[in-house]
Symmetry: D2
Subunit: 138 residues, 4 copies
């Protein structure tokens, strides 16, 4: 899968001259959105099915700084998926150096905020995600 | 009315070493929220009444730079109010220097996104706003 | 010139379900950065020459709402240029509807924060900008 | 130590109606800034001494959602400190419920981006931090 590219904007830098660390969490979301589009199940479609998938944890390791106009390449992998929860892994590189590695965990909720298993409520999404998860393990 | 104070955060600065200009639009929203609380009609209460009030225009003049840990004092005035639209005026100072002046214009919509006059739908809010607007003109 | 496209991210929406108005100021900066790249004088190169160009005013009119996953097309024009100041104009469309129109004004400073005319300090940039400005007027 | 309070702003919410998860990283920075001020060594003073302290890792667990106008109380503790690295711990509550727990790790760099031990370069800061760290362990 082609990597997602985020070009660092001026408003994403801080007075240390680097990309502010909080923005990488946003780049993760951008890359995740892009991943779901590329595999054919955009997040918007999940929402249209009455499912939201909030972030329940993030772990981010900042390896090297980036700055204005840098192109950060982001590789996204589905690391774990149970139908109730899932975990994505991110490897961000810039000029072939790893600048950041991260994971994010998510659950699935219905429109009333109740946790659900997508296995029952959305088998098409479930099967797609399970397949992608298996592919990564091999 | 006591001025709203925004302390500039590190994540609000950019690689020019100053507060990024886009953040002043957010400081305006913070000060507006604070203004509505102080006059006794928090924006949240307006939303609970089924009214939203989107921004339809902003005009911002940046006079001096500010940076990390600066305390920006923001004076908010209700400049115009018709029940259908309203306009706020902002004067931001830091260490007694004017750093930014701005205005924002807003309309009122019901939950279906239809423009409304709050004169009919919410007379209590209408009367309060009209009084505040008159006071500023005198 | 090809329009700049900003795809609205989830983190750019707010609880009204729409793109938060403050983000359009950031889209303007993205489009301006892209404009300067396309005309062959990236902003980074200006900074490398010891020139910064802070925003001194923005005027934004919000015409229609946008939301998550919308593609906003942004047309940028150099409206005025004197060597001491310049003004950009932005027309943002989404699905062929104008969603936002805006202008931004900028000055030029040296690394000590002193206002300069780029006519003397950077004639290559001056000539390019003047030519672009003339083209827009015709 | 009095907890730091962050009042959630409208621009910090997203179309799920909740505070966007990326903003908690920024609340951590605000609370950390406030912590250093309260113990008498503002981060600005560290920068004035030629020391910067970038974030090298964050771990965030989102327990409950918050939304517009919520007051999030943030308790900050210095969990580890070696002079070369330090780790802060954050417990965020809202209406007496834990909404988020997190840690952040930091190193210390000189103005050339070279890692330093503050034990040698800034013994006053070193002693203060070591004392605070010991207090937390007891």
């Amino acid at each position: 899968m082609e990597k997602y590219i985020h070009k660092v904007q001026y408003y994403e830098t801080d007075k240390m001259q680097f990309t502010h660390h909080s923005n990488y969490i946003r780049f993760m979301e951008e890359a995740r959105t892009d991943f779901l589009e590329k595999v054919g199940f955009p997040y918007k479609r999940l929402e249209d099915c009455g499912i939201i998938s909030p972030v329940i944890a993030v772990n981010v390791n900042y390896k090297k700084t980036t700055t204005y106009a840098d192109n950060i390449e982001i590789e996204v992998k589905l690391k774990n998926f149970t139908g109730v929860r899932c975990e994505f892994e991110y490897i961000m590189t810039c000029n072939n150096n790893i600048v950041c590695t991260a994971t994010s965990e998510h659950c699935f909720l219905d429109n009333n905020g109740k946790p659900i298993s997508v296995k029952r409520t959305n088998p098409e999404f479930y099967n797609l995600m399970e397949t992608l998860c298996e592919q990564n393990k091999n």
